[in-house]
């Protein structure tokens, strides 16, 4: 097996007529990553995953899994890869066990693992029932079971917690964490920021088919201009002082607080200057933008403005 990364996408494009569903997406998922593919509904996440799995043809660009292009190598490119897009689907007129037997046979894999994965998905008691009668959550768990049947090294999960009740969501996340601990690389798409924040070490944020950020969420937070709030006895004087200190920007008085942006050195300079000017202050607080603000900025802002520099 090569050392190629689990997922490499370069310049991936999918057009449907005039609509560009996926617009030059570059992605690299490294071994051991729990990679979040984050964006609002309709941002092209599922379409991207379908191209990775060879289910649809890219209009342009290429996708490789462990160095193999599914468009060129067909099913062999999916060796070691499993997952589902847009909710797992099974034959409703067959039982869960029969469905898994079918998939095991399609893989020329052993059927001996079926009990094990059914156990893991907590479906063993209902394994003999027809999937047509399953709840959404059970199908979702069966989807994971079907994926694990392949003993994958890379798992692609499209919105795995969508439609689950709170307990189901918690269990699903716990399962993802557990699989990641076992060394499976995971690419997980989601429209839920907190889910990705909780599970993933790296993210790509996608908006209208375009990746607007790729890197870690921590780096994203750090890359945002950090702001401060100062509560001073004499706000007006404090504002004048702030204007005179180099490196202090965006000075404004909001709700009786002086707000500004600055690097750490400039902030230190400001406190000294305030002391010299005889302005006492009662609080100086860093005001970092919340991740949610950043996410909303990235996914809802005007397309022309470069919102955040990409952090590799």
């Amino acid at each position: 097996m090569t050392d190629a990364p689990p997922v490499v996408a370069r310049g991936l494009v999918k057009r449907y007529g005039d609509l560009v569903a996926v617009d030059h997406v570059d992605l690299t998922v490294e071994r051991g990553d729990v990679f979040g593919y984050l964006g609002p509904n309709g941002a092209g996440k599922t379409t991207s995953l379908r191209m990775l799995l060879g289910l649809i043809r890219p209009s342009d660009g290429r996708a490789e899994l462990f160095g193999r292009d599914p468009l060129v190598e067909g099913a062999r490119a999916l060796d070691g890869v499993a997952g589902f897009v847009e909710g797992p689907a099974f034959y409703p007129y067959l039982s869960a066990r029969r469905n898994l037997e079918l998939l095991a046979d399609y893989d020329d894999g052993p059927r001996s693992r079926i009990d094990e994965v059914l156990e893991l998905a907590e479906l063993r008691d209902r394994a003999g029932d027809r999937v047509g009668g399953y709840s959404h959550g059970m199908k979702q768990r069966l989807g994971i079971a079907a994926s694990l049947l392949r003993a994958p090294r890379l798992l692609l999960l499209d919105e795995p917690t969508t439609g689950l009740d709170p307990a189901g969501m918690r269990d699903m996340r716990e399962l993802v964490r557990r699989l990641a601990r076992e060394g499976i690389t995971i690419l997980l798409s989601s429209h839920l920021l907190y889910e990705v924040e909780e599970l993933c070490n790296r993210v790509a944020i996608v908006r209208r088919g375009h990746v607007v950020y790729e890197g870690s969420l921590q780096a994203l937070k750090a890359s945002a201009a950090s702001g401060y709030a100062l509560r001073a006895v004499d706000v007006d004087t404090a504002r004048r002082v702030a204007h005179s200190v180099a490196g202090i920007g965006d000075v404004a008085v909001v709700e009786g607080e002086l707000r500004f942006t600055a690097g750490e050195d400039a902030v230190a300079q400001l406190t000294v200057a305030l002391g010299r000017a005889g302005v006492g202050f009662t609080a100086l607080l860093p005001r970092s933008a919340s991740l949610e603000d950043l996410f909303l900025d990235l996914t809802e802002g005007e397309p022309a403005a470069p919102l955040v520099q990409e952090v590799a």
Binding site: T47, R50, L53, G54, L55, I56, R57, G74, A75, R76, L78, D79, V81, A82, G83, F84, V85, E86, G87, P88, A89, F90, Y91, P92, Y93, L94, R98, L102, L103, D105, Y106, D107, D108, G109, A146, R150
Partner: protein
């Protein structure tokens, strides 16, 4: 491909429409025999072997084959052929099986073989039940060939088996067309109806005046190719023509279906 084929058969076994087709095929000759037995007089006189219907049970399956060629067996065939790919779209299971270790070509080939197996099973069921019901009702007697000579019952049975084989060709071509529609339209009902319309259109074209020159190359005509087997001496010409005409229809439909299946974007299915 073997595993895919076997699972396609298992999937057919788990679906109601399969039984609908097979049981329907088996019931038709019984209903036919009962209707003929209750009727007085002779005939139907205007179709091959119709006159001999009450003389030997062996004539029954031949006559049933004739009647079922118009829309009965095409419908039974379309029921599964039109559904076998479209149902994957309906259940959104294509993505499930196409992300395992099987190439699209294998999956398509498995479906082709399963459809053919079902089609042949329905045809054989019909003919077998026809012989049994016919012999019970009208006895095991010599058959009169289309040239007027007597054919011993044992030989007649052999000729019936061969005729069934020849009759299967156009039916399989219709199945291939159903598979194409099933793949291209992604809609089961549309494909079943479309396949049936195709079969009827082939019959209609043959019935129109002025189509004499193309008639030998229409699919509907090949359903009577087996008549050649019941002539003395055997007339091989329609049988040979039936073989290659049906092969061309089937090959074109399967090649087109294969290409569509190979290149299709699996979205929302």
């Amino acid at each position: 491909m073997g595993a895919v084929f076997i699972w396609e058969l298992r999937k057919l076994r788990a679906q109601k429409r399969t039984y609908l087709g097979l049981i329907g095929s088996a019931l038709v000759p019984i209903a036919f025999v009962v209707a003929i037995a209750l009727q007085n007089g002779s005939g139907p006189n205007d179709i091959p072997l119709g006159r001999a219907l009450r003389d030997t049970g062996l004539a029954v399956p031949f006559v049933v084959l004739f009647f079922m060629s118009i829309w009965g067996l095409p419908l039974v065939t379309a029921l599964v052929a039109g559904d076998i790919v479209a149902s994957e779209t309906h259940n959104r299971t294509l993505k499930t099986i196409l992300t395992r270790s099987r190439d699209r070509g294998e999956v398509f080939a498995g479906k082709v073989c399963a459809t053919a197996t079902y089609t042949l099973a329905a045809l054989v069921a019909m003919v077998t039940v026809g012989v049994v019901a016919g012999v019970i009702a009208f006895g095991w007697h010599p058959l009169v060939s289309l040239s007027g000579t007597d054919v011993a019952p044992g030989t007649g049975l052999g000729l019936l088996a061969l005729s069934t084989l020849v009759y299967a060709w156009p039916l399989l071509a219709i199945a291939a067309f159903g598979l194409l529609l099933s793949t291209a339209t992604r809609n089961s009902a549309a494909s079943v109806v479309g396949t049936l319309m195709f079969a009827l259109l082939m019959q209609l074209l043959a019935a129109l005046p002025g189509t004499e020159s193309i008639r030998p190359y229409l699919l509907g005509e090949q359903f009577s190719a087996w008549h050649g087997l019941l002539r003395r001496p055997t007339d091989w010409a329609p049988i040979e023509r039936g073989a290659w005409v049906c092969a061309i229809y089937a090959a074109v439909a399967l090649a087109a279906g294969y290409l569509v299946f190979l290149r299709r974007d699996v979205t929302g299915e």
